[in-house]
Symmetry: C2
Subunit: 302 residues, 2 copies
């Protein structure tokens, strides 16, 4: 065993994950503003959502029920209370027509704390991941503050220090995300998909070569250039003259000169919108003013 | 129903989550570099991890097995093959001494693809969340590129466009995170904890007032000032003179003047390390040079 030193484990973190909900079934108990926020994230992830709540629904929930019938179903009653408000405490969450085991994930966003806990217990017992709004100890997972730019998603978590700080940090991060990142991700994603079609399989040597080639190609391209990979011709050249010939080609090698010009344009544009543009301009003006003042003062002294 | 317009749902996202693993049991199948990367994240999240892999283990795994016996257990054999390599295909993953149902989460990071799939199927059938390294379609969740700064965790996900782009974007974001964010989160976290002790409960009106007061207080403080809340005296004043008196106090109101001086110092320091410092300086020099050149040229013409 080598004489490495390993960093101390810094405990207290959560495990940040990107959960796949494409075509999964989700139970959302509640019909207010918190439920509405959950529904937005769930639909973006491609889930089929059953909302159980007595009406009236918050207006965006009502809108989604009306416009997304394939993805959103509304059952107009209290969850766990099929017999109405007189359901006994011990029968709460034993909702026989809508058992939690029918779902891949469960969310509650209601003010009825005993019902929240009952739903949570039922989900836990059935090993269905559950999130109870505003009751962190009852959750398998938390949400964080998020930014989305097309295929890019960023989450900020403060492990319970408070959502407001997470939002403040999220806003700082959102400002720092380069404008061309969406194009870069789309370009690289398309290249990766075509490479997988050309050289399929997992595990083995081909899969390792494929991963290595993708990494080396990304290293050879600037983020601001990667948008050029959205062009089928550029991808075709990369694969035919790069991958097939066991070599890595940069944007410059490919002679994507139009793209390069666009890139320069977009760099100038992103510089003008960046946090370094105004400091540079103000610095220039300040420098010119100070130098001018010195010369004028010197001229007067003469 | 009001006449709002609601944004189109942009599908194709994952649901980004902060999963809680404190004292949960995790099965990690594999003993190489990918398993080592998984183990780091799992231990930071406080999980108890059982590694199942024939030796030799990757060196950092071996180090954790030796130094973290409370959290890491190593079972030195192939998972699913208690009878050795001759275990029949249909018995793969039917590992009776280590059934997936004994665990809260399962990870495989092995080159043995049939075994990976068998473990995945067993976990799915038992509703245990599972991640299979390098085989996205077999996963309940993906990882993203991550940054951690003490209590702050940030994850970048590109929904499968490729880990390399996520790493590039992660590095841009890491540079943009303000240096004082750890102190801010620690300060606000401590305030939130003390407020909860003072005004406990979930649901009701007190809980709503508590959340509102935390948000308003955060809005009244700059991120760079929030580190001052790490002081018990500052928190005591905020709670006694703010919360108890139904008012919100800023850093200025509290007269944390020493903190304010430090804040100015740290702002100057963070400006000098920021992306705007050098552009300002270079702009200043360039401006001075251009102005000087003009004056010198004008003087020569005279």
């Amino acid at each position: 065993m080598s004489e490495h030193t390993y960093p101390e484990i810094q405990r207290g973190a959560s495990l940040l994950l990107a959960w796949r909900l494409q075509d999964k079934k989700v139970l959302l108990v509640g019909g207010g503003t918190v439920a509405a926020s959950r529904l937005g994230f769930l639909l973006e992830a491609g889930a089929h959502v059953t909302i159980v709540a007595p009406g009236p629904l918050e207006s965006s929930l009502a809108h989604r029920v009306a416009t997304e019938p394939e993805y959103v179903t509304w059952i107009e009653r209290s969850y766990g209370r099929p017999d109405g408000p007189d359901t006994k405490a011990e029968d709460l969450a034993k909702d026989k027509t809508l058992p939690v085991t029918d779902f891949d994930m469960v969310f509650t966003a209601i003010d009825d704390n005993p019902l929240s806990r009952a739903v949570c217990d039922a989900a836990r017992a059935a090993r269905v991941p559950v999130n109870v709004a505003d009751v962190p100890p009852e959750c398998d997972f938390y949400f964080g503050a998020q930014v989305r730019r097309g295929p890019l998603q960023v989450m900020v978590s403060t492990s319970g220090a408070g959502p407001k700080v997470a939002v403040i940090v999220r806003d700082v991060i959102a400002d720092a995300i380069p404008a061309d990142v969406e194009d870069a991700i789309a370009g690289v994603g398309a290249l990766r998909t075509e490479l997988r079609e050309r050289a399929p399989g997992v595990g083995g040597a081909l899969s390792k070569r494929r991963m290595r080639w993708m990494i080396d190609t990304c290293d050879a391209w600037k983020l601001s250039e990667m948008g050029a990979m959205k062009s089928p011709e550029v991808r075709h050249k990369l694969l035919e003259d790069g991958w097939e010939k066991h070599t890595v080609l940069s944007a410059h090698d490919l002679g994507v000169s139009k793209a390069e010009l666009e890139v320069v344009g977009s760099q100038i544009s992103s510089f003008m919108h960046s946090k370094t543009f105004w400091p540079s301009v103000l610095g220039f003006v300040a420098g010119a003013a100070v130098a001018s003042a010195s010369f004028i003062a010197a001229a007067r002294r003469k």
